[in-house]
């Protein structure tokens, strides 16, 4: 059976492509997800609120959510409230920069020095808010300790609720999006067991597992098998160690 997700804090960053503070919002969210509070946070791509289904829209009803916005338009906070539920906390990068007297970033792509300093300041503030929201929940000592650099601990992968957290995921079959219970857990298990997507047997084994948790009509099975195999290949590629590591 799929495991129920733990109580965590959801982070929604605007990731605005057209302003440097949007890049900072994304960088800050990733710092918290991967370095500062990896065991206590999960994220969701903001545009998925509209492109996704009820599961995505249930995100902020399931997790207390912190919205991290690059500018005063507050897209992350507004979208979370519009499509899911009111964020438990909200933070605007440009406001924080002004209140802390930090320089504004200039680059859209990656981080310049000002962007990196600001991203760490935003991440620290988000981590404080995470702790506040999870007050009473035991954190590891390492996670509780302030980390002046924020970059010295071993990084975890950012956890996205569409591949973890709520135990379901979608695949596209033709023109249809099909939600499959337990798919993330099945993928993780297969990945752990080293079952390559290039192995012809893997697609059939995936379908056997998926059918344990989902009703699959016989006439849909071949198309679904192909879609799941493609999605697993994508998952495999993104979770495989980089060459040379």
């Amino acid at each position: 059976m799929p495991r129920l997700p733990e109580r965590k804090v959801g982070l929604i960053a605007c990731s605005g492509e057209d302003l440097p503070e949007g890049t900072v919002s994304r960088r800050a969210a990733l710092l918290v997800l991967e370095r500062l509070r990896p065991s206590a946070t999960v994220t969701l791509c903001l545009p998925l609120f509209l492109a996704g289904e009820e599961r995505e829209r249930a995100f902020a009803r399931f997790y207390p959510t912190i919205a991290i916005d690059g500018c005063e338009k507050r897209c992350a906070a507004r979208a979370t409230e519009m499509y899911s539920a009111r964020p438990a906390a909200s933070l605007v990068v440009s406001d924080l920069a002004d209140s802390l007297g930090l320089a504004r970033p200039q680059r859209l792509r990656g981080s310049d020095a000002a962007g990196e300093v600001l991203a760490r300041a935003v991440a620290d503030e988000v981590a404080r808010q995470v702790d506040r929201l999870l007050a009473g929940r035991r954190e590891t000592a390492a996670a509780r300790q302030p980390n002046p650099t924020g970059l010295e601990t071993e990084a975890a992968d950012a956890v996205c609720t569409c591949v973890s957290g709520i135990p379901a995921a979608s695949v596209v079959v033709g023109d249809q999006t099909v939600e499959l219970i337990a798919l993330p857990a099945v993928f993780a298990l297969f990945r752990e067991e080293g079952k390559s997507p290039d192995d012809a047997a893997t697609a059939n084994e995936l379908m056997q597992q998926i059918k344990l948790y989902n009703a699959v009509a016989a006439e849909d099975e071949n198309a679904l098998r192909e879609a799941v195999a493609d999605e697993y290949a994508c998952f495999w590629a993104q979770t495989a160690p980089a060459i040379g590591q």
Binding site: C14, C45, P47, A51, R109
Partner: protein
């Protein structure tokens, strides 16, 4: 070049998937290096919220979407904004052609991810040229 001739590039910027970061990087390779004079990007989150200016831009200019996963948030949100993408790229399609390129992580796509982004960016730049030629 007049504003009317610009092509909009919109990546999904998926924050939970490394291919989302590759798409975002490819966007900046096109808009800042390969075709800086005739391309620009729009905040997808702003478009998602129905911002009038963002909607007007994708409806007025040819728009190219880049998606990192099958949910296709960039393409779907552009369509929801009332536009038809002039082209819809998927990072996964580049990976299909270059399975030797293993992206490292969301926050650090590594050299392989950079290379994947450059390959994708060149494909997009070619599409930009094709779209602009068709509009002359």
């Amino acid at each position: 070049m007049s504003g009317e001739e610009r092509v909009i590039i919109i990546p999904c910027s998926g924050i939970g998937k490394a291919f989302g970061s590759v798409g975002r990087e490819a966007t900046y390779v096109v808009t800042e290096e390969l075709r800086p004079d005739c391309t620009e990007t729009v905040c997808l989150s702003l478009l998602t919220l129905g911002d009038e200016d963002a909607r007007r831009r994708v409806q007025k200019h040819p728009t190219i979407t880049i998606d990192g996963c099958p949910t296709a948030c960039a393409r779907v949100n552009v369509e929801q904004a009332g536009a038809v993408p002039a082209a819809a790229f998927r990072v996964f399609d580049v990976f299909r052609r270059h399975k030797e390129l293993r992206v490292r992580s969301v926050s650090d796509i590594g050299e392989a991810g950079e290379e994947m982004a450059r390959i994708l960016a060149r494909d997009i730049a070619a599409k930009v040229d094709e779209l602009r030629k068709g509009r002359r």
